[in-house]
Amino acid sequence: MAKTILPIGPYHPLQEEPEFFTLTLDGETVVDVDVRLGYNHRGIEKLSERKTFDQSTFLVERICGICSTSHPFAFCQAVEDVIPLEVPLRAKYIRTIIAEGERIHSHLLWLGLAGHFLGYNTVYMWAWKLREEILDAMEILSGNRNNYAMFKPGGVRRDIKPEDIPAVLKKVDSIVPTLEMLKNAVIDDPVLHARLKGVGILSRQKSIDYSALGPTSRASGVARDVRKDSPYGAYDQMEWTMIVTQNGDVFDKAVVRILETFESVNIMKYCLEHLPPGEIDAHITSLPPGEGIGHIEAPRGETFHYVLSDGTNRPARHKVRAPSFMNIPTFKATVVGQELSDATIILASVDPCYCCTERVAVRDTKGEKLFNGKELLRLSWAKTERIKKELGVP
């Protein structure tokens, strides 16, 4: 049978790395996948060199809207590493609170979109509705729904007022029952078991070979989390569990993310309840020449920043490596050999980008359009329906 080429993208609004996937199909089976980047390139590393360290914090916040805490967090740590300097404990706690809030909203966002790709639009709407509660909490804490602008080299920009804490705790607590329900809905649902188990497996060895990061690798049994391995912020101050599962399929990736959300809720609550008094800023006045690195665990994996200082108020070189950059190549290991109707959810399981799927088109080799994104989604929904029917679930 003639090979079919399926381009996905290039427009990709939902992640820091825009991708253009080309799936090569043999009938229904994916035989190859290719990725092209660059549609979202804004020259941030270069721009950073003409901004001061304080200004760059805002710039790196805008690398990715979902990771708008992870990048400033890693960047500030890199700058602090140049001196080197210890941030006040209160600032560490506040940083941790914001970072965990971001993880909760990011994982919920993913859960919703994964539900959408499977034809579970109720999950989509529920998860996003739940996410609003966290965004409200973040708005109380920082004044912003996204792009929190809380970070600065040396500490945080705003303090958390004691009178705000009960309201935030209430908001954070309010998501737990619904989250519990969503968890049970995913973990116990026979349809999802049939649909997701054994699909898009990333083996432990492959995960290590590809240097996969974050939930993508933890679902394959690689127990690696920067929060545990090289504690930063306030993560060494409390007890929490790193979620690791063994199978590496889409189901496990979903489970890791959902269970992690519970951990994040606990970490966030602990920090809010045990917020130590004191300074929130170490007041950096100048930076010596030197190099610094900062790495933190973003919702999708390790975010890494490198800063070279020449003693002026601007970085002489600034390098950023976001986690999806490492995770996207794992498609070579997960998508190849799978059915086309599973491709959407496998690509989404790494949490790379969602909107690109809206612009999917299947083309034959002559470039004639056969399917668009909607139809590919429909293919995925139809498979879920088929499994439902087979299992006799309404």
Binding site: E16, R62, C64, I66, E132, C355
Partner: protein
């Protein structure tokens, strides 16, 4: 007002296009579609294909690769169509104005009808912007 435009405003189908953004604007656009804000109440629907769209919601700072594709996509929209620029990026290129890869602002590439400032604009602001758009078109009748 032309009959087509009048009909279009009853239930504008929106197509969301990112031209190199940080995705926050895009998430806020999606937020508008989910239960808290739910713009489907007003008949607005996210169109799956640009050929079904009446309103283009454009975010991002138009980098060199996407600017070309943006022009091509704009040519594919059935006219009349309305263009909404969402976020600072799509207006002045915001933080990326000095970037080597963001040569032109959006409105130098395609005509823009409404600007919604903010980085990112809140969903309330996006809804207000779309309402303004409708009023502007009606006022121009």
């Amino acid at each position: 007002m032309s009959v087509t435009l009048n009909a279009l405003l009853k239930s504008p189908w929106v197509f969301h296009l990112s031209t190199g953004s940080c995705n926050n604007c895009d998430i806020e656009v999606l937020d508008c579609l989910t239960p808290r804000f739910d713009i489907e109440r007003f008949g607005m629907l996210l169109a799956g294909s640009i050929k079904h769209a009446d309103v283009l919601l454009v975010t991002g700072s138009c980098n060199r690769q996407s600017a070309e594709r943006l022009k091509r996509l704009y040519d594919q929209v059935p006219k009349p169509c309305l263009v909404v620029a969402i976020g600072e990026c799509s207006q002045s290129r915001g933080m990326f104005i000095h970037s080597y890869n963001c040569p032109k602002p959006l409105d130098a590439i395609i005509p823009v009808d409404v600007y919604i400032p903010g980085c990112p604009p809140k969903p309330e602001a996006i809804i207000a912007g779309v309402v303004n758009l409708i009023q502007k078109v009606k006022g121009a009748a």
